[in-house]
Amino acid sequence: MANTQAMTTSFKTELLTATHNFGTAPTRGTGTADTFYAALYETTATLGAGTTAYTTSGEVTGAGYSAGGIAVTNATAPTSTGTTAYWTPSSSLMYTGVTLTTPFDTVLIYNQTQSNKAVSVHTFGSQTITAGTFILTMPANTNTTALLRLA
C-alpha cells in the first residue's frame, strides 16, 4: 500500500472547530460554539474574498432591520463525508417585518464572538423588501452542497 499526500479530512473538520492554531489566536475559555450573524449588503457594496470583518459600510438600512443583521442558527456541528469537511446553518435566515428599498444582493456570515471576523460572502439576485419578509434558505448540509466546504 502506497502513501498518499493529503490534507487530512480530520484536520479540515477541526479547522471548523478551531482545534488547530498555527499562529496567534484568541484564547478560548470554553468549549462552546461561537455566535455567528448574518448581515445583508446593498448591490453597491464591495464584499468578497478580501472582506475580513463585518462592516456597516454598504449594509442595508430600513425599517425593521437592525445593523449587524440576525443571529445564525447553529445547531449542527461541522462534520465530514469522504474527504470534505462542511457546515451549514441549521435554519433559514429570516428577516421579518422589514422594509429595504435599496436593492441588496449579498449576505455576510461573520463571527460575532471573535470580533465580528468574516466567514463567508454569499450573493443572490438583487432584491428589495416592502413591509415584508426576506427568507434565505440554506443549501442541504452535505459534502457536496453545504454552505461552507473544505475539500
Binding site: F11, G125, T130, G132, F134, I135, P139, L147, A151
Partner: protein, 64 residues
C-alpha cells in the same frame, strides 16, 4: 379573509392586486410576492433558496 401586512397596516388581501414571480438558475431558486394598491407597492416578500456554496480546496492550497 387573509390579512396582509402592508405599508398602510394590515389590509384584506382581496382589496389588493397580487403579483408573484420566480427565478430559477444555477445560483438560486427565488420566489417573490407583491401586493399593490392603486398602483402603489405596499408589500413585497422574497424567499431565496441558495444553491451554491463556498469551497476551500485544501489539496490545491497545499500544493500552491
Amino acid at each position: 379573509m387573509a390579512l396582509v401586512t402592508t405599508t398602510k397596516g394590515l389590509m384584506e388581501e382581496n382589496l389588493l392586486e397580487k403579483r408573484e414571480g420566480s427565478i430559477d438558475n444555477d445560483n438560486e431558486y427565488t420566489r417573490w410576492i407583491e401586493f399593490w394598491l392603486d398602483g402603489e407597492l405596499v408589500h413585497r416578500s422574497v424567499h431565496v433558496e441558495l444553491k451554491r456554496n463556498v469551497l476551500a480546496d485544501g489539496m490545491a492550497a497545499m500544493l500552491g
